[in-house]
Amino acid sequence: MSSRETILARIRGALADVPAEEGPEHVAVERAYRRSHLEPGQDPVELFAERVADYRATVHRAAPEDVPAVIARALTERGVGRLALPSGFPTELLPGGSRQWQSEPLTVPELEALDGSVTLAAVGIAVTGTIVLDAGPGQGRRALSLVPDYHLCVIRAEQIADDLPDALARLDPARPLTFISGPSATSDIELDRVEGVHGPRTLDVVIVEQSVEQSVEQS
């Protein structure tokens, strides 16, 4: 008997107390928890901005037409000049100037030689301050937003889900997903969080507001 058969047989033997007619659906799962932890009337974009900033990522909010300027300012502030640019990233969002944009395909050593990456996101999660990348257009393969030490992520306000249940429902598990909540960090020394280990040590998030309002910058 193969190990597969042995293990399956052992499982069935171990579950002798489970009635044969019982199916998984007969084991009740009460889902009395909230679909969202947003307070009534609370603005998800506002909360998202707050919660991302809690992880010591920097949040910028911008009207669509101001995005290139906001990105330009962030890159200048960080001293980031050589950047990975995923295919499908909307060129109208890119600032001009003397920056070097490296397009895909990019090998890992090529990525390692760059200062940072600029990507879009698939979904945001307000309650947890999380951005999710699904390697879709404008996001690149997973290595692109991982290997360079700086990551700037542009997310549209309407991509921000209230909470985790809604976010998971919007995502396609068949794609490789990366949930990012702040820059890389560790709690391994005395169980106290410090930022900056193997992943990008600096994370900037630019929220593109739906309406053309005055852009607010917060950090």
Binding site: A16, Y55, T130, R142, L164, T178, S181, D188, I189, D192
Partner: protein
Amino acid sequence: MSDRGVVWLGSPSFPEAARTALADQQLRTNLRRATTTIRDKRLAVAAELDDWEELRTAAEAIKRRTARHLDRYLLQLEEAVTAAGGSVHWAGDAAEANRIVAALIQATGEREVVKIKSMATQEIGLNEALALEGITAYETDLAELIVQLGEDRPSHILVPAIHKNRTEIRDLFAAEMAHWGEPAPEGLSDDPRELAEAARRHLRKKFLAAKVAVSGANFAVADTGTVTVVESEGNGRMCLSLPETLITVMGIEKVVPTWSDLEVFLQLLPRSSTGERMNPYTSTWTGVTEGDGPSQFHLVLLDNGRTDTLADTVGRQVLACIRCSACLNVCPVFERTGGHAYGSVYPGPIGAVLTPQLVGVEQAASLPFASTLCGACYDACPVKINIPEVLAHLRAEVVEAKRHPLSPEALAMKAAATVLDSPRLLSAAQKAASLGGRVLAREGRIGRLPGPLHGWSDTRDSPAPPAESFRTWWRKNREGTP
């Protein structure tokens, strides 16, 4: 019994190992500091969710559903992973899992692998097994790196180096990093930021060069074949997306039925483990993706005592564990003794209920007794494992397994049971105790005692029994019958 790993051979019993640990003042200070920090953080983020109890209830139910139909979910998972281009392997015990992983690595022609922290591979002793095959496994999680560099043992399931403080870590990095690759920078301080930076530099080349990675899994979704790793540092992302081959070893109990079930666990896990609303990085993948990440994906499903655990209708609930470590962090025993005293890769309350079930109660007979049954673990557990209930259950199994009618404890328990089942004998015993106690007592207290009670009486006085028991008083004063 086949080779299951889990316990460290030759480890002393818990009380003995605890005595050594308790004498280590530095360890006590490190543990107290770390556990106090994390407890407050956990309480604060759990309190943010007013439906925390409902989430726990749902998590418990999802895990119960999974366990009761485990065969079905594993087959579904196998099918989904295979359909997405991955390969699934089944390992009955530690030795078989190690053989499978070694063979998979050898097939790539590589002799070095990078590893993400994983309890399953700790449990089976994978690194040691690979070393025998001439394969070096580099731990990339900061705490695992600290353990590996120090040739130490993990003492916590989430933060295996919790027993070390920043200064000890600095010294270790300065002394050992050079032997494994990139040395520690000159003049390294004990600032955690600098230590994290040193780890980043030390491992950077390894990540970029690695062709094979080995990981564990936090969850695997049966209906989609999606595997999940929850982490903080980005070492997980490096291992999961840069190498060509990814080998994931996971216990069979890690499967969850559906993608949407993750909405429960991904809320509970980070808040319970590191006390964060969300951990920095969670990666999910389904088989292989053309042009992104490994082109070979192997999933090794590990039994290693889990089906024995499943067969115990009370002990089964322990398989729901999501390895958050909240129970360790709140445990008053763990806080004093640290993890090494448990003699197993699974320390603390979860270890006390899991280790004996994985390896058999005779192999870990002192662990179910390493608890006051205070219940702090049960309150903290995000999947509502009733750890005190399982501890009491396993104690009975230990007693049955080791029952020798002439052991001093069994004799005492038997005698006590006889006395306690008879008001007349109890009354007589109370009179004898009263007389005897008053002989021993000074100023109403009994000091040091010989024999098995010396450990008790080393630090505590005992009360002298009163002149008469309550039942005697009642008979005299309320019934008028002396």
